[in-house]
Symmetry: C2
């Protein structure tokens, strides 16, 4: 269960980050990704994170936040950090990031 984020009472926020990795610099990328994940989880208002990536390098990370202020302050932090990453352009060929307000949720399988 530790790969799942908690289910706090809605509403809360989801930041959905879908990205295609380039083939370059896997060690550098892995170190950065671990650092960013630690920072996010320590950020005030961050509720948790779900992340996965397949063998073709297509990944989705969803970070959850208590409210929009927490999303905005994390974005400011993250941008600051990412701006320092000289290798940033090398790591993704494309990404899309969406900020969404979670209105309801479910978990399962039911009855287990």
């Amino acid at each position: 269960m530790d790969r799942f984020a908690p289910l706090p009472d809605p509403p809360y926020y989801a930041v959905i980050f879908a990205a295609q990795r380039s083939a370059e610099d896997e060690p550098g990328y892995a170190a950065m990704a671990a650092r960013i994940a630690d920072l996010a989880l320590a950020h005030p208002g961050c509720l948790g994170m779900e992340t996965t990536r397949d063998a073709e390098g297509f990944g989705i990370t969803v970070s959850y936040f208590r409210d929009e202020d927490a999303v905005r302050s994390w974005k400011a932090d993250a941008k600051h950090l990412i701006a320092q990453q000289l290798g940033k352009e090398r790591w993704y060929t494309h990404y899309r990031l969406r900020v969404a307000k979670v209105e309801r949720h479910y978990s399962g399988p039911e009855g287990r």
Copy 2:
């Protein structure tokens, strides 16, 4: 770019499905997953889908819909279909599904 969903003008809806696969019945699962994806993409109001799963079987699929009505009618369809899947309980050890309203989005890398 074909693994990314479009970026229609917000607001629109995201259905975030995170799930841990069991080790069972990969061919049956793959066939069901492909069928569900085709059905979702053909559903009125479905805007696109992003999906990935890692070697440990942890997957995230985000489906995007024009509005809440489209999410609800898809859920009704999906439940109907899933109810027919005798093997359903075998495929996931756990899943969490969240319905969220996308308020804004970005894509990048900028400047390319």
